[in-house]
């Protein structure tokens, strides 16, 4: 129904558009509540109880409890909102971003120091699909 989404062919990337925003509304609003120190304390004291105060889906709550940011994003989370969970845990943006790549923290940091993830081979979904197929053969 919505307009074309040409960005769907970019690999390993979710564009936070109005559709994602609608899906992730309560997940992201929960995250924003962690900007208040009292709420961070309450969340840390009993994560599940705090999550149950929000109209989130069970899948969203489990993704938060597992600190699985890719799963949070698949359920409508946006990284700037999700960063409040990382902040509550004392994590840096680099640790959070790295955690979504399947790399270890050290490997991710080393990749960044040596110039970051190259653009070659990372522009189109078909490039990732081809790579995967090669690895499987």
């Amino acid at each position: 129904m919505p307009l074309d989404k040409p960005y769907k062919d970019i690999p390993g990337t979710t564009i936070f558009d109005a559709e994602e925003s609608r899906k992730g509304y309560w997940l992201n609003q929960f995250c924003m509540s962690l900007m208040q120190p009292e709420n961070r304390e309450r969340f840390k004291a009993n994560e599940r109880a705090y999550l149950d105060e929000w109209a989130m889906t069970e899948e969203q709550k489990l993704a938060v409890l597992a600190r699985d940011l890719n799963r949070c994003i698949a359920n409508g989370g946006n990284i700037y909102f999700l960063a409040k969970i990382g902040a509550t845990d004392g994590k840096s943006f680099q640790q959070m971003a790295g955690s979504m790549t399947g790399m270890s923290e050290e490997d991710y940091r080393a990749m960044m120091i040596s110039g970051g993830r190259p653009i070659e081979g990372n522009r189109y979904q078909h490039e990732w699909d081809a790579k995967k197929q090669k690895e499987n053969n």
């Binding site: 040409p6 960005y7 970019i10 690999p11 390993g12 990337t13 979710t14 564009i15 936070f16 558009d17 109005a18 925003s21 509304y25 992201n28 609003q29 995250c31 924003m32 962690l34 900007m35 208040q36 120190p37 961070r40 940011l69 890719n70 994003i73 946006n78 990284i79 700037y80 909102f81 960063a83 409040k84 990382g86 902040a87 509550t88 004392g90 840096s92 943006f93 680099q94 959070m96 971003a97 790295g98 979504m100 790549t101 399947g102 991710y108 990749m111 960044m112 120091i113 110039g115 970051g116 993830r117 190259p118 653009i119 990372n122 522009r123 189109y124």
Partner: protein, 288 residues
């Protein structure tokens, strides 16, 4: 008549603020980055403006999903520092210029730009990190050396404004500032970028070549650059690289775009990495 005398462009990576706040600026990891701003800090001392019109984006700190303004102009007298979850940065709040901001609002809305005006605006790293980079350490009970007018652009939820729209509103902001009849010195800053992607399996993307072509074109061909579609930013510069559209607002406010002389490149710097991000920085000074 108020004069725009320079535009400044810089990334606003939160880790840079953390490095300063935690006293890590001389560590080998950070030293090359801060070296790139040494010139800028001296230049700011020699060319302190009265007001900085600071284009940035809020990162889900002032604005939740309840409220998503495409262009938000701060018309308040005072901007407190946001608590992004780690506690507020130990830097001063910023003092606004409510009168000039109101004047800009009046002028720009009457030119058919659909601003949102904001009077309660806690400023996050997108705002305070450029201040720290350009001004150096300022104790929490001190003051920033100029007043500010925040201009927050939605680059978090798609669709974000087009490069073309950003370039046009920059031109309208110039006209507004120039029609203010007090003789003050104004800088316009564009912040965010360069290449970065903070999410998903492609996180950590850096595209040095694209970034440097962006800097070249921003200097020499901003009108052409303003035609680049969103999809190119996202594909080539990462999902968060879209922040670079904000640089077109500051660039659009320079004299040459309005038919005047080209600005001079006073300083250019590029460095990888700061945390997940490629850092770019430019100072363009108007011809005198």
């Amino acid at each position: 008549m108020a004069r725009i005398t320079a535009s400044v462009f810089t990334s606003h990576v939160p880790a840079i603020g953390a490095a300063m706040d935690l006293g890590k600026t001389h560590e080998p990891y950070w030293q090359p980055l801060f070296a790139g701003y040494e010139f800028s800090r001296q230049w700011m001392k020699d060319n302190t403006p009265d007001v900085v019109f600071l284009v940035y984006n809020d990162h889900a700190n002032a604005f939740s999903l309840d409220f998503i303004p495409t262009f938000a102009l701060g018309t308040a007298a005072h901007y407190p520092v946001a608590d992004e979850g780690w506690g507020p940065r130990p830097v001063p709040a910023a003092e606004g210029h409510a009168e000039l901001a109101a004047h800009i609002a009046q002028s720009v809305i009457q030119e058919d730009f659909d601003l949102t005006l904001v009077n309660r605006l806690p400023i996050d790293h997108g705002f305070t990190v450029p201040l720290s980079l350009m001004c150096g350490e300022v104790p929490k009970d001190g003051r920033w050396p100029f007043r500010v007018i925040p201009f927050a652009v939605n680059v978090v939820q798609y669709p974000v404004p087009s490069g073309n729209r950003c370039f046009q509103i920059g031109q309208a902001i110039r006209r507004a500032i120039e029609s203010w009849d007090e003789d003050i010195n104004v800088h316009i800053w564009g912040t965010g970028g360069m290449t970065h992607q903070l999410q998903g399996p492609r996180a950590g993307l850096i595209n040095r070549e694209w970034d440097n072509r962006f800097l070249d074109r921003l200097i020499e061909d901003p009108a052409g650059l303003s035609q680049v579609p969103h999809i190119e930013y996202v594909r080539e510069a990462g999902s968060e690289g879209i922040e670079l559209v904000m640089w077109l607002i500051a660039r659009g406010a320079m004299a040459d775009v309005a038919g005047g002389k080209a600005p001079r490149v006073k300083h250019r710097f590029y460095h990888v990495p700061a945390s997940n991000t490629a850092v770019g920085h430019l100072i363009l000074e108007e011809a005198k």
